[in-house]
């Protein structure tokens, strides 16, 4: 399966949840992409070290999609956000699934009928493929909450559900 990640989803999984080794394993059987713009946004982030960037690039292949101008009006003619590049790629590559967590980007992806999941959907995949360890799954929720990273109540609830279904 091919996945293309928006910035917040990639940062949540890679940085805040620290699922680096799990994502690396996942990338052995799936193609994980980020558009150049998402890579730039990741690098612009707080305290990103060169070793982090190297690890990030081991997991995610950085690609430079062609901007689909049909999307521009929906983004008020701006193309600085990661999701317009993610959706652009998915429109040209329908087999690829967008990984977007921000509601606005998800709405646009839905409007254009691209495949869509979010960071929680990837965690579910990691779980179903037995890539994520029991210990990591137990700690995941606390890790996300502690990170202070914004996640909607809906996504937090979904995360709770994955963690609880594991515990029962």
């Amino acid at each position: 399966m091919n996945f293309i990640f928006d910035t917040s989803s990639a940062i949540l999984l890679f940085e805040k949840c620290n699922l680096r080794k799990e994502l690396l394993k996942f990338s052995e059987t799936n193609n994980l992409y980020v558009p150049t713009r998402v890579m730039e946004e990741y690098i612009e982030g707080e305290n990103v070290k060169s070793s982090d960037i190297i690890e990030f690039q081991k997991i995610f292949s950085v690609i430079n999609p062609t901007l689909k101008t049909i999307l521009l009006p929906y983004f008020n003619n701006e193309f600085s956000s990661g999701e317009i590049w993610v959706i652009s790629y998915a429109l040209g590559n329908p087999e690829c699934c967008c990984v977007i967590d921000e509601e606005f980007g998800r709405n646009i992806a839905t409007l254009f009928e691209t495949q869509l999941t979010g960071a929680i959907g990837i965690i579910k995949e990691l779980k179903s493929q037995n890539i994520i360890s029991d210990n990591d799954l137990r700690q995941l929720k606390a890790k996300v909450r502690k990170s202070g990273f914004y996640l909607s109540k809906k996504l937090l609830k979904e995360l709770d559900e994955i963690c609880s279904s594991h515990q029962t």
């Binding site: 917040s8 707080e46 009006p73 929906y74 956000s81 999701e83 990273f149 914004y150 909607s152």
Partner: protein, 189 residues
């Protein structure tokens, strides 16, 4: 196509009013009040980057006498009905919608659908704030903009959380960087 000819639905205002009323919003509702009808079609025109309908920047931002007159005509013709403060399509209006749909491109329909999904379930203040910020020229003669803008710290996060703007736009409208905006959400959620 008798209905299109009988009721002059080839006029952009009438056609768009019928189509907008036929679409569902975020809450799966089709009915629209007068403010949302004007704003959804203004937003659609902004997305289309066209001026098929005459809008003026008035007290409540972009509004259209042309749209208003055509809406009244559609009510008189029995294609649209006013129920309380909301407008809905009648059965005849539904038939007109089916005739109209093939006349519009997929992308045009998508933009109108998007405009309705974006606005119709927002309350009046959220809708006005969103439109003033999206199309700054509509602030010019507004009697509401200043008051709403003072409350931008309330409206911007609300619009973001409802998925109507992304974090880039939210940060821009608040005059902060994206990280500051997202951090402010994580501490309140």
């Amino acid at each position: 196509m008798p209905l299109i000819l009988d009721y002059g639905l080839d006029s952009p205002a009438r056609g768009l009013l019928i189509l907008a009323l036929s679409m569902k919003d975020k809450e799966q509702k089709k009915e629209m009040d007068i403010l949302h009808l004007h704003k959804v079609i203004r937003y659609f025109e902004h997305l289309q980057d066209q001026k098929a309908i005459d809008f003026s920047d008035f007290k409540l931002g972009g509004v259209s006498y042309e749209l208003q007159e055509n809406l009244e005509t559609l009510v008189e013709c029995g294609l649209v009905e006013k129920v309380g403060s909301k407008y809905v399509l009648t059965e005849e209006g539904g038939k007109a919608e089916k005739e109209l749909l093939p006349k519009y491109s997929e992308e045009t329909i998508r933009k109108l659908k998007f405009a309705k999904l974006q606005l119709n379930d927002l309350d009046d203040n959220e809708t006005l704030f969103f439109m003033y910020m999206l199309i700054p020229s509509t602030q010019k003669h507004s009697t509401r903009f200043e008051e709403l803008y003072k409350k931008r710290d309330v409206y911007v996060p609300r619009l973001f959380l409802k998925g109507r703007i992304n974090s880039t736009t939210a940060a821009k409208w608040l005059g902060v960087d994206e990280k500051t905006f997202l951090n402010s959400l994580s501490t309140r959620d």
